[in-house]
Structure formats: structure tokens, C-alpha cells
């Protein structure tokens, strides 16, 4: 059931170049790690898809990278501001894994804190483009951090169930190394619930909607 309601901002804090946006939960389901929410961006026509970063009894948290007008609007919110939230949406990570290893790149670490919590704090490998960006690693427990020019694929131990989120080149590299990994992808979305067909990605040779089939997909797909 699609549920879109206004929620109040309860916290806005800088984490390196990113902003951790907290909203009052008030009955909002957290969903599974890797699922996402459409967040209203003030002054913009379309909401922005954000995976859930943190879930407490009273708050949900989203890690936002201010890369465009919508995400900049989200990062400019203040405590007490209200924004409409739709979600949780899409398919998240499968949690029936034996030896989980979380892998994140840049803003792709966004779903990992909540995923880590749900999996009991498994080891993680995080990659960032600069030490400033790497400040966000504080959000993920048990993390080994690498900074460019070192890539996460150079620090991957073998024998793990990999759950990864990051830029497309990183996910493609992991897909080649770990064929049974679960990968969380990103695509521009207008709606997040299957209406617009804007987020089409090629799966099994066909263009399919990432918001319906994903955003978490098996690497083999």
C-alpha cells in the first residue's frame, strides 16, 4: 500500500560532504535495508529517491549528497521543516546470508548503517574519493576504509556473502569478482512506484524498472 505523509525534520548534520537528514518517524515503516523512500524536495516538481540509512524508535535517517537542485534542497532543510515521504519502496537486501560483508563506495554507503544494524554489525569495506568523504565511514561499524587511488575491490576478502552499494563502475567490478553478490543500484526516478518507467535498467537482456525489480539485484541478473 502506497502511503505518503508529511513528516517533521528532527535533525540535520554534516557528515563529511554529506548531510544526515533525520525525520520524525510517527508510524513510518522502516522496511528492509536497501529499500528506499521518495522524499519531497522543496521547490522541485519531483521527489528524490533515498535509501534508508538509520532507523531508531523515533527517527528515520537519510544520508544525502548535495549533487543537484533536489538534493541541495533536502540538505538545506532545518529542524521543524516538514516534507512528504512515500515509502518504503522497492526490494531491499536479502538478509538470509551466512558470512555477510558490506561493501560501500562514496554516497553508496547510505543504506549500510541500517543494513549493518539488521545483520548484527558484520565487517565492511568502504571506499571514498578523499579523506573528507571518508568521514562518513563513522556511520558504519567494523569498517575498513580505503581512499582513492585504492579501490574497494583491492581490499575484498574472499569467502563472504557480499552486499554492496556504490557507483556503477564499482558494482560492475564487484559483479565480475563476486557473482553471487547482492548489489544496490541507482537510477533517476520520477515516481519510485512503477508508474513512470524512467528508471529502466538492463536486466537479463531486457530493460526493466529498477524501482520495481530492485534497487537491490543479484549480481548475476
Amino acid at each position: 500500500m502506497l502511503k505518503r505523509e508529511a513528516h517533521s525534520v528532527s535533525g540535520v548534520e554534516a557528515v563529511g560532504p554529506y548531510t544526515l537528514l533525520r525525520v520524525e518517524r510517527r508510524g513510518l515503516e522502516a522496511g528492509n535495508p536497501g529499500q528506499f523512500f521518495m522524499l519531497e524536495a522543496a521547490g522541485r516538481l519531483l521527489p528524490r529517491p533515498m535509501s534508508l540509512c538509520l532507523a531508531t524508535a523515533g527517527e528515520l535517517g537519510f544520508l544525502v549528497d548535495p549533487v543537484g537542485p533536489g538534493t541541495r534542497a533536502l540538505c538545506s532543510l532545518s529542524c521543524g521543516d516538514r516534507l512528504a515521504i512515500l515509502g518504503p519502496l522497492g526490494k531491499g537486501f536479502r538478509l538470509d546470508v551466512v558470512r555477510p560483508l558490506l561493501v560501500g563506495g562514496g554516497i553508496g554507503i547510505a543504506p549500510l548503517p541500517y543494513l549493518s544494524e539488521r545483520l548484527g554489525g558484520p565487517p565492511a569495506v568502504l571506499g571514498f574519493r578523499s579523506p573528507w568523504h571518508a568521514e562518513a565511514a563513522v556511520l558504519v561499524p567494523n569498517a575498513e576504509v580505503v581512499v582513492e587511488p585504492t579501490y574497494v575491490t583491492e581490499a575484498l576478502p574472499s569467502g563472504h556473502d557480499v552486499l554492496a552499494c556504490g557507483p556503477a563502475p564499482m558494482l560492475e567490478a564487484i559483479r565480475r569478482l563476486v557473482p553471487d553478490a547482492q548489489l544496490a543500484w541507482e537510477a533517476p526516478m520520477a515516481c519510485g512506484y512503477g508508474a513512470c518507467w524512467g528508471c529502466a535498467v538492463r536486466l537479463d537482456g531486457q530493460l526493466k524498472r529498477l524501482c520495481v525489480e530492485g534497487p537491490v539485484l543479484d549480481a548475476a541478473a
Binding site: P47, C191, A195, C196, Q206
Partner: protein, 304 residues
């Protein structure tokens, strides 16, 4: 007044609760053969609307009839099927295939901005579709023509039962950093707020030009927007881009429309249809609570 969705702006199978809030569900455009659509990136937001270049992705008429239609029938909402093609034969073939199906109407997508091939002429295409089906036929037109009223008259003469106004118009968005087109196809169809005055003008012009019922659409996001399209001459209204941001839009907009009607003293939205064309300013309906002698726009009491 019926509230519909604009074709391609809702999937009733992934969001049935939204479709059930509408008076009819309009499908994504169906073509004779399956189409994958355009490569990503397919959508872009601009300051005044959004661009899409989906490219008529659809399963093709055979799979649509065999798999999609039976599932849509379970919704309990009248189904309008949007039909597209690249020749008059494509339209005729698809309409003929749908003629025996349980659908309420066919909308001919005569104006998709996201494919390169365009049908030869609207008149010939509507005539070919008319010959192929007894279903009510709505012609969906682009406002990006020299004389839309003339196009509307041609559609009427060729046998259309109604008009859907308007389709998107071509727009371009450039990437903030690279200054290259955001969309893989380059251009896309512009929808949302920027399209609304264009839709109003189109509905207004076609209401004068023909007697066909009009489904008005283009940037509708509030009850007030619905009211204005009705006044311009639309009998029904469709929601498009607003559904992307707000799947609860049908219920919200209906409630807003009730408020707008009450504020202006109309008992029924149908009594607003075409009012923008009336020279007589005391146009309130018989059940109005408002004194018809008062000019609502200027506040002047004409009688006094």
C-alpha cells in the same frame, strides 16, 4: 466530469489502489509489436516541468491482450487502451484486435514526441482506426502544430468520438556540469506545470472548433487546475506528472475541486464546462448559493 490518468503516467498493476481512485484507467500506449523503449537516461527534471523519453515501451498487442488486459479487468475500473503505431495500418490492426475486448474506449496516441516515425496523417489514421473498431475513439493530439483547431476538425471529420488534449511537447535539458543532453535520446516530452497554459489554450481552441467531448490534461496538480480546464471546455480531466510525485493526487484533487466549486457556487462540475466561452457573466448554475447578480471577478454588485 470523470477523472482519468494520462497514458504512461500510471501502472494500474503495480499501483492498483491509485487506479481505483480514478473513473477510468488509461493504459500505456500499445503498439502491434513489442517495444523495449529508449535507452536510459529516460527522464529529467527541469525548473518548469519534467522531460521523458520512454519511447513507447510495451509488450505488443498480442501479449497485452493475453496477459495485461485480463489482469486490468480485475481492477473494476473502466479501461481505456492507448494505441500507437508507425503507420495507419498499425493503428487499424491494433484497434481491430481490441474491438472484441472488454474496454471502455481507445485513445489514439497520434503525437508521441519520443519516436522518430510519425503516422502519415491524423485524418487517415483516425479514419483507419474508425473502420476497424466500434469502440469510442479519442484522438490524442499534440499542441505543437500550426493550427490545432484544424487538426481537431480533421479528427472529428474522420470519425473520432472525442479528443485528448494535450500530449507533451518536445524539450531539452542539459547536464549541469557536462552541458550535454541529460536524456540518452537528447530531446523528450515536456510535461508538468509548463504545459498547463498550453493545455488550457488547446482545450479552449478545440472546444470552439468542434463538438467533440474533450479530456483535458497537461500540468494538472490541483482542484483549481481541473476547474480551469473544465471552464476552457474539457468534459473530463486526466492527471499525469502529478501522479509521479503524489500517488494520492486523485483523492486530494477531487476534494480540492469540491472546495473550488463550493466557493464559486457551483453544484456540479459539469455546469462549469465551457464557461470560459460564455459572454454572459452571470453563469452560476440554478443551485448556486451565490448571488448571480454579483460579478465574482470584480466584486462589483451589478444589480446595485
Amino acid at each position: 466530469m470523470r477523472l482519468l490518468n494520462a497514458s504512461g503516467c500510471l501502472d494500474a498493476l503495480t499501483a492498483p489502489e491509485v487506479a481505483r481512485e480514478l473513473d477510468a484507467f488509461v493504459t500505456k500506449t500499445v503498439t502491434p509489436q513489442p517495444r523495449e523503449g529508449n535507452e536510459p537516461v529516460r527522464i529529467a527534471e527541469t525548473d518548469v516541468g519534467m522531460l521523458n523519453a520512454i519511447g513507447l515501451a510495451n509488450p505488443g498487442i498480442e501479449r497485452f491482450v493475453a496477459q495485461t488486459l485480463p489482469q486490468l479487468a480485475g481492477l473494476g475500473v473502466p479501461i481505456w487502451v492507448s494505441v500507437g503505431g508507425f503507420s495507419t495500418g498499425d493503428y487499424a490492426e491494433t484497434c481491430e484486435r481490441l474491438d472484441g475486448e472488454e474496454i471502455a474506449a481507445i485513445e489514439l496516441n497520434l503525437s508521441c514526441p519520443n519516436v522518430d516515425e510519425v503516422p502519415e496523417s491524423i485524418s487517415e489514421t483516425v479514419a483507419a482506426a474508425r473502420a476497424a473498431t466500434t469502440k469510442p475513439l479519442y484522438a490524442k493530439l499534440s499542441p505543437a502544430v500550426a493550427d490545432l483547431a484544424e487538426t481537431a476538425r480533421a479528427a472529428e471529420a474522420a470519425g473520432a468520438d472525442g479528443l485528448s488534449l494535450v500530449n507533451t511537447i518536445r524539450g531539452l535539458a542539459l547536464d549541469e556540469r557536462t552541458l550535454r543532453p541529460v536524456l540518452a535520446r537528447g530531446v523528450g516530452g515536456l510535461s508538468g506545470p509548463a504545459l498547463r497554459p498550453v493545455a488550457l489554450a488547446s482545450v479552449h481552441a478545440c472546444r470552439r472548433a468542434t463538438d467533440l467531448p474533450i479530456v483535458g490534461m497537461g500540468g494538472v496538480a490541483t482542484g483549481r487546475h481541473v476547474l480551469e480546464l473544465l471552464a476552457a471546455g474539457a468534459r473530463d480531466v486526466a492527471l499525469g506528472t502529478v501522479l509521479f510525485a503524489d500517488p494520492g493526487a486523485p483523492g486530494r484533487i477531487r476534494a480540492e475541486l469540491e472546495g473550488e466549486l463550493a466557493a464559486l457556487g457551483f453544484a456540479n462540475p459539469d455546469n462549469v464546462v465551457g464557461l470560459a466561452h460564455s459572454a454572459d457573466r452571470s453563469t452560476l448554475d440554478s443551485k448556486s448559493r451565490v448571488d448571480a447578480e454579483k460579478d465574482l471577478h470584480t466584486g462589483l454588485n451589478v444589480a446595485g
